[in-house]
C-alpha cells in the first residue's frame, strides 16, 4: 500500500464536482503522459522541417537542416523515458516487445519507435555526416578522432561514387522518412483517438490534429534553437532563413488552428450526451490552459504578431532587430501553446467522469516520478543531449551559412 497516494486522493475528494465513478478519483495518466506526446511531437515536427528543406529544396532554410535532424534525434532519445517511467512496472517494459498484442495501439510503440530511430533518423544523420566525419577525423587528434572514425564506421571513401551513393540514399530515406514521421506522431494520436469510452479523445481528427500541432511545435522549436545558438556560436542569424521558416510555421499554425476549430464546431454541433459535461469542464477546469494559453496565447497572439510583421515588413522595411524580437516571442508562445494542447488532451480527457455527471481534478505532484521536477528534467534532457550531439556532429558551419562542406551541399540537391 502506498499511504502517500491515499493521502493525495483524500485531498482531492472535496474538489470533485457532481458525480464521478468511485474509481475515477485518481487521474491515471499524469504529467509524464503530457510530456510524452509533446516530445514525440517535436521529433516529428523537426524531422518534417528537415524534409521540407530536402524535398522542396528550399535553399533559404538550409541552415536549419542539420540542426533539425539533431534536435529530432535528441528528443527521440528521451521519448521512451517518459512513457516507461510512468508504468506501474517499468521493469516489465520488454513485455510490450516480446508479447505485443496486435490489437493494442500502445503495443506498437516499440516497433514504430525502433523503425523511426533506426531506419530513418539515424540513417539519415549518418549519410548526411559521413563525408564530414571522415574529413574531421583527418584533422583531429585524440578521442574525437576515434569517435569520428568509429561513427563513420571506418569508411574512408570520399570519392565521387560513394558521395553520389550518399545522396541517393538520402533521397530514399527522406521519402520513407516523411510517412514515418507522420506515422510516429499520428500513431501517438491514435493511442488517444481509439479510446471509444472517452468522447474527449475518441475522434478521427485527433491523429491529424496531433500531427499538425507536432509540425508546429517542431518548426517553432528549431527556429528558437537557431535564434539562440547562432549568436552563441559566433554566427549571424540569417533573416532570410528565419523569415522563410516563420512562413512555414505560420501556415502550419493556421492549418492546425482550423483543424482544431473544425473539431470543436463538430462536437458542439453534434451535441451528444457528453457535451454538457465537456463544456462545463472547458469553462471551469480547462479555462486557463485551453482558452487562455492554448488558443489565445499559443495561437491567436503569435498568428497576429507574425501576420503584422509580414504586412509591415514590406511596407515599412521593418527593422530586423524588431522582427527578430517578434519572432522570438512568437515561437516561445507557440511552444507553450502546444504544451498546453497536450495537457488539455491528456489531462482534460480524464477530468470528466465517464458517467458524464461530474468532474474530478488533477493535483500535480512536485517530487516523485510523476512529479513536476522529473517532468522538467525530461524536458531539459533533450537540450543536454543536443549539446553533446552538436559537439560530435557540429552543425555550425551550415547554420552560419558558410558554403557547406560537400556532404550538405549535395544533400540539398
Amino acid at each position: 500500500m502506498n499511504p502517500e497516494l491515499v493521502h493525495t486522493l483524500r485531498e482531492l475528494i472535496p474538489q470533485i464536482q457532481g458525480y464521478i465513478y468511485p474509481n475515477e478519483i485518481e487521474i491515471h495518466w499524469g504529467l509524464l503522459i503530457v510530456v510524452y506526446p509533446y516530445i514525440t511531437g517535436v521529433v516529428a515536427g523537426a524531422f518534417i522541417l528537415a524534409s521540407l528543406v530536402k524535398v522542396f529544396n528550399v535553399k533559404e532554410v538550409q541552415p536549419l537542416y542539420r540542426l533539425s535532424l539533431l534536435t529530432a534525434l535528441a528528443y527521440l532519445l528521451v521519448a521512451p523515458m517518459a512513457l516507461v517511467s510512468h508504468l506501474g512496472h517499468p521493469e516489465r517494459f520488454y513485455e510490450i516487445l516480446l508479447t505485443p498484442q496486435t490489437s493494442s495501439a500502445m503495443a506498437m510503440f516499440g516497433f514504430v519507435y525502433a523503425w523511426y530511430l533506426m531506419a530513418v533518423l539515424l540513417l539519415e544523420i549518418w549519410f548526411v555526416h559521413r563525408t564530414d566525419m571522415i574529413e574531421w577525423a583527418e584533422h583531429e587528434t585524440g578521442l574525437m578522432r576515434h569517435i569520428h572514425r568509429a561513427l563513420a564506421l571506418y569508411s574512408r571513401d570520399t570519392g565521387d561514387r560513394s558521395v553520389a551513393f550518399d545522396h541517393k540514399a538520402l533521397k530514399v530515406i527522406t521519402i520513407v522518412g516523411i510517412p514515418s514521421a507522420f506515422l510516429l506522431h499520428g500513431y501517438v494520436g491514435f493511442i488517444f483517438g481509439s479510446i471509444k469510452a472517452n468522447p474527449w479523445w475518441s475522434s478521427v481528427l485527433i491523429p491529424i490534429v496531433f500531427l499538425f500541432s507536432a509540425i508546429v511545435s517542431g518548426i517553432a522549436l528549431v527556429i528558437l534553437l537557431y535564434m539562440i545558438l547562432t549568436p552563441l556560436t559566433g554566427g549571424k542569424i540569417s533573416m532570410r532563413c528565419v523569415d522563410k521558416a516563420i512562413d512555414f510555421l505560420f501556415y502550419a499554425v493556421i492549418v492546425d488552428f482550423s483543424l482544431e476549430l473544425v473539431d470543436f464546431i463538430h462536437r458542439v454541433y453534434q451535441s451528444e450526451e457528453e457535451i454538457k459535461i465537456l463544456s462545463e469542464m472547458v469553462m471551469s477546469k480547462l479555462f486557463a490552459s485551453l482558452i487562455i494559453i492554448q488558443v489565445l496565447l499559443g495561437m491567436l497572439v503569435p498568428l497576429t504578431l507574425i501576420s503584422l510583421t509580414k504586412i509591415f515588413k514590406k511596407r515599412f522595411h521593418l527593422n530586423e532587430d524588431l522582427r527578430k524580437m517578434v519572432y522570438f516571442v512568437a515561437v516561445i508562445l507557440i511552444q507553450f501553446g502546444i504544451f498546453a494542447t497536450r495537457w488539455n488532451v491528456v489531462i482534460g480527457g480524464q477530468m470528466f467522469s465517464k458517467s458524464f455527471r461530474g468532474l474530478t481534478t488533477y493535483k500535480m505532484e512536485f517530487g516523485g516520478i510523476e512529479g513536476l521536477l522529473f517532468a522538467i528534467f525530461l524536458l531539459a534532457l533533450p537540450i543536454l543531449i543536443l549539446a553533446v550531439l552538436t559537439k560530435i556532429l557540429p552543425p555550425w558551419k551550415e547554420m552560419h551559412g558558410q558554403p557547406a562542406p560537400e556532404g550538405v551541399e549535395a544533400a540539398g540537391s
Binding site: N23, W29, L87, H89, Q101, T102, S104, K354
Partner: protein, 261 residues
C-alpha cells in the same frame, strides 16, 4: 430473450463470420492479418460458446437493492481490495430523481446508513440503488487495448488480469467505459471484478451474490436454460449499461432507469 447474451449470437454471428472470412480472402497476408485484428472483428472476444461450455453472466435487480453495502464489504475482503474508498471492484450508486427533473447521484459508503430523506422529502420523484461492477463485456475494449495481453478473456467469458505480466500502463483503465478498473496500489497492476473467478470455478457463487440479503444480485451460466440466471433473463425486462458502445455487457439489469449510465 430480450438481449443476446452471447458475443454475437445467431444471425449476427453468421454475418460476422462471413464478413471476416470474406475480408481475409480479400486481404490475405501476414501484415494485413495484423490489421484485421484491429478491425472490430473482436478477434479476442468470446465466440458463441459451444454447448456444454459455461458462459457466465450476472443479473442485477435494481428494484431489490436496498443499498446495505454488504456486497461492497464482502468483495473487499474476499478479493484483497484496499479498504480505502478509492478502489472498488463493485460499488452501489444511489440515484435521487426529483420532480423538477434534476438527478443526484452518489456512491454509497459502507457503514453509513443511507439517509431517510426519501420518505419526508416531497420533491423526490423516486430514488433507487444501482449496484455496479465490471460488465465482463463480451467485446471488451479493455482487452483490445492492453499492449501485453495481460487483460484477457477466458473461454467462459470472464475478463481477467494477469498480475504477473501487467505492466501497469493503465491503458485498460482509460478504455473501460464503466469505470470498473483501478490500479491496485499494492501490486501496481490493473485490477477489477473477476466474478470471483476463484470461487465460481469451484461451483460457488461470487461473494457479493452470496451475501446480498435481498437477492438483488444473480449469477449463473447463460448457457444453462435452468440456471437462476437464465430464469432472471426470462422473467424480467433487461437492459445493459451504455449499449451504444457495443461492448456487449454481460451484467444484465432489471428495472433499470434511463438515467443510469
Amino acid at each position: 430473450m430480450p438481449l443476446s447474451p452471447f458475443a454475437g449470437g445467431g444471425t449476427v454471428n453468421g454475418r460476422r463470420t462471413f464478413l471476416r472470412g470474406f475480408f481475409s480472402v480479400l486481404l490475405s497476408g501476414g501484415a494485413i492479418g495484423g490489421i484485421l485484428k484491429i478491425l472490430p472483428s473482436k478477434a479476442d472476444a468470446g465466440e458463441a460458446p459451444p454447448k456444454g461450455q459455461n458462459w457466465y453472466g450476472f443479473g442485477v435487480s435494481v428494484d431489490k437493492c436496498i443499498g446495505c453495502a454488504r456486497c461492497m464489504e464482502a468483495c473487499k475482503s474476499e478479493n484483497n481490495v484496499p479498504r480505502e474508498p478509492f478502489f472498488f471492484r463493485t460499488w452501489v450508486e444511489r440515484y435521487i430523481l426529483r420532480k423538477n427533473g434534476t438527478t443526484t447521484v452518489k456512491a454509497i459508503a459502507p457503514n453509513v446508513e443511507p439517509s431517510p430523506e426519501t420518505a419526508s422529502d416531497k420533491s423526490i420523484l423516486r430514488s433507487f440503488f444501482v449496484p455496479k461492477l465490471c460488465n465482463q463485456c463480451a467485446s471488451p475494449p479493455c482487452v483490445q487495448v492492453c499492449p501485453v495481453g495481460a487483460t484477457f478473456q477466458t473461454k467462459d467469458g470472464v475478463v481477467l488480469v494477469n498480475e504477473n505480466t501487467c505492466i501497469g500502463c493503465r491503458y485498460c483503465i482509460q478504455a473501460c467505459p464503466y469505470g470498473a478498473r483501478y490500479l491496485h496500489p499494492g501490486t501496481r497492476t490493473a485490477d477489477k471484478c473477476t466474478f470471483c473467478y476463484h470461487r465460481i470455478s469451484h461451483g460457488l457463487l461470487p461473494a457479493c451474490v452470496e451475501v446480498c440479503p435481498t437477492q438483488a444480485r444473480v449469477f449463473g451460466d447463460l448457457n444453462a436454460a435452468a440456471s437462476p440466471m437464465s430464469r432472471f433473463l426470462r422473467m424480467n425486462k433487461i437492459h445493459v449499461l451504455k449499449p451504444g458502445l457495443n461492448t456487449e455487457p454481460k451484467v444484465y439489469y432489471a428495472s433499470l432507469d434511463g438515467e443510469v449510465r
